[in-house]
Symmetry: C2
């Protein structure tokens, strides 16, 4: 095989597919990036069998061929080379020479025979959204998946109904929900996408508003197609949680508050919480005033924030991190919080239903 590519182009391609190279694996071939230049285009592929990424890069194929190179060292070599044309040549034994200007790297590649290519999937059900929207909605929900618990909680619900896409994540203490309007109407789709795949894809997406992503769904896979790249992930099997009755619109008390003031206050209060400690922040809701209080071995803090309130007064406690996680991803300057009682979840949502964040309260002793 012999290829010539611009450094910036091959580096960008390698950084994209690297996201599917597993950190630890017992199959050495999975630690490789495959260069497939056997069919008239230069395709870079990595696949950890749950998540696979393929991207096509520009360059000259002087001699077609297939070659697998250990991802980590290959990416570093390309990164360290000067900004110029890079030539990659391999012989029948996969002895590989990478040259650029006066630098020459030698390393031993592998045949691609054992490499698992991405499975071919049927391109039937698909939706189209902008790269910007997909990147944003992942950021706005990914924080509330569970890291190692119930397998279903480690993924996000993607549900298409007519002309909107609903994305949900939850971890047993909170629920994040986003609704996205689609340009067209589609058949009903309901799948659970692994959080890991969403995390990686959000790093690859440039997030441009005028570039689209086509998302294909099958029974077993979800595939994201954008620019010259394909990201394919296995789905999580099972039924997602019924959340609709948890997101009731009934409430006893509604608070209208500046998001920044509330966030900054909780941020200060969380200084009082040492790692592993579960001290709640107490919200004392009164007419026109919200007092926030926290009390720990470190010391205590209290602060007052002006609010607009309708409904009953209430004292309710929360894990400060859960409130901050939700506030951090809401773009509105002013938000509405809906409370029922100190034992029932608080809901932060806007009027047109584009977002809903539910957070369970924490018990606190009366002395607080």
């Amino acid at each position: 095989m012999k290829l010539v590519c611009k450094k910036s182009i091959i580096l960008n391609g390698l950084q994209i597919v690297s996201k599917a190279v597993p950190v630890r694996t017992t199959f050495p071939i999975l630690e490789c990036i495959l260069i497939d230049a056997s069919k008239g285009e230069i395709k870079l592929i990595a696949n950890d069998t749950d998540l696979g990424i393929e991207t096509v890069i520009e360059g000259d194929i002087v001699e077609p061929g297939i070659l697998a190179l250990e991802a980590k060292i290959f990416v570093e070599m390309i990164r360290k080379l000067p900004e110029n044309d890079i030539t990659i040549v391999s012989d029948g034994n996969y002895n590989t020479v990478i040259t650029c200007e006066k630098t020459k790297f030698n390393l031993l590649g592998k045949s691609g025979d054992d490499f698992s290519y991405l499975p071919k999937i049927e391109k039937k059900n698909n939706i189209v959204i902008s790269q910007f929207t997909l990147k944003e909605v992942i950021r706005q929900t990914i924080f509330s998946i569970a890291d190692n618990d119930n397998k279903i909680m480690m993924g996000e619900l993607f549900e298409v109904t007519d002309d909107h896409l609903k994305i949900v994540s939850l971890d047993g203490h909170r629920i994040s929900l986003r609704n996205i309007a689609l340009k067209n109407s589609y058949d009903h789709i309901k799948v659970i996408v692994p959080g890991k795949a969403l995390n990686e894809i959000s790093k690859i997406l440039t997030g441009e508003a005028d570039k689209d992503v086509t998302i294909f769904f099958t029974d077993r896979h979800i595939m994201f197609e954008f620019d010259s790249t394909i990201v394919l992930s296995r789905l999580i099997e099972g039924e997602y949680f019924q959340i609709d009755n948890m997101l009731s619109k009934d409430y006893e008390s509604k608070i209208h508050i500046s998001k920044k003031e509330l966030y900054d206050c909780i941020d200060r209060a969380s200084l009082m919480v040492k790692e592993g400690d579960k001290k709640p922040i107490i919200l004392d809701v009164k007419d026109r005033n919200l007092e926030l209080m926290i009390n720990s071995v470190v010391g205590s803090m209290n602060e007052n924030i002006d609010i607009q309130k309708t409904g009953t007064d209430m004292k309710i406690g929360f894990n400060p991190k859960f409130l901050m996680d939700a506030l951090k991803v809401i773009d509105d300057d002013e938000i509405d919080m809906y409370l029922i009682n100190p034992k029932s979840p608080c809901i932060i949502r806007d009027n047109d239903g584009s977002y809903v964040y539910l957070i369970l309260p924490v018990n606190f002793t009366v002395s607080n």
Copy 2:
């Protein structure tokens, strides 16, 4: 005690003195920052008994007093408060209230009775250099102190002779030497300053060329005085190494080379060196050409660089990191390297003797 200070001013002062708060200690009082507002000025002090820092900040003393607060939480509290006036009040039991706008923190302080103030030193021998020069010269030498070996190697030699200051660090594999011209002539001074103190002081120095640092020397201490801050460190006791005869000006071969080309080449080559591996980079010095080669289990690399050479051809091996460390802190675009033979150190120095970097070579097998 009751004080009122601007947030930015007190935060800056706390960040300065924090550098002398030990990470681990068996004396809880050392984990505190002392606020001494008993004598008409607000002084912040931290002291781990090897290194002590004192800074005076602007603010109003409403009620004089002394108070010690646990450094970590105190700094974080101040950092998280809004940009406005901060009031710190403590009562007779050191119950402390920190308020800013509508936020109120409560924490328990300590009396300053057990706190060790900085020892008073005799301000006799001193030199003056700019903050810029001191910050630079620390950066240019600190990398070659030993981290945990001979106690003397963990410090740097500061030697004043007439109107220049010589600063030396060495770790058994290499020597870094810088000469700085002083504006005045001084008596001879020769001390060993702990690397830790130099590291911390270089973080505090703003590095402005038009601001000076006065450095005081006693038998046991070095004290840096600048802006409203005093940094005082114990010296390392003992005799520094005799290095003059190691820095011989004899050589067999002199190479004139672009620093950037050499650095970038070694940077690429060091990809071939895995953590803990001791693969040398081989320099094959010929007329007009330097070939660099490295060979490891990962693969191999070679590259040619145009040079000007006088003297004999030579093949010599080095630890790539040691070459890079020195090249990184030399500002010249072109450098001169002096070689004697493959078993003798290489010296990189300029003509006016403002810097000398000595690096011991590494043995390599002929097959390389």
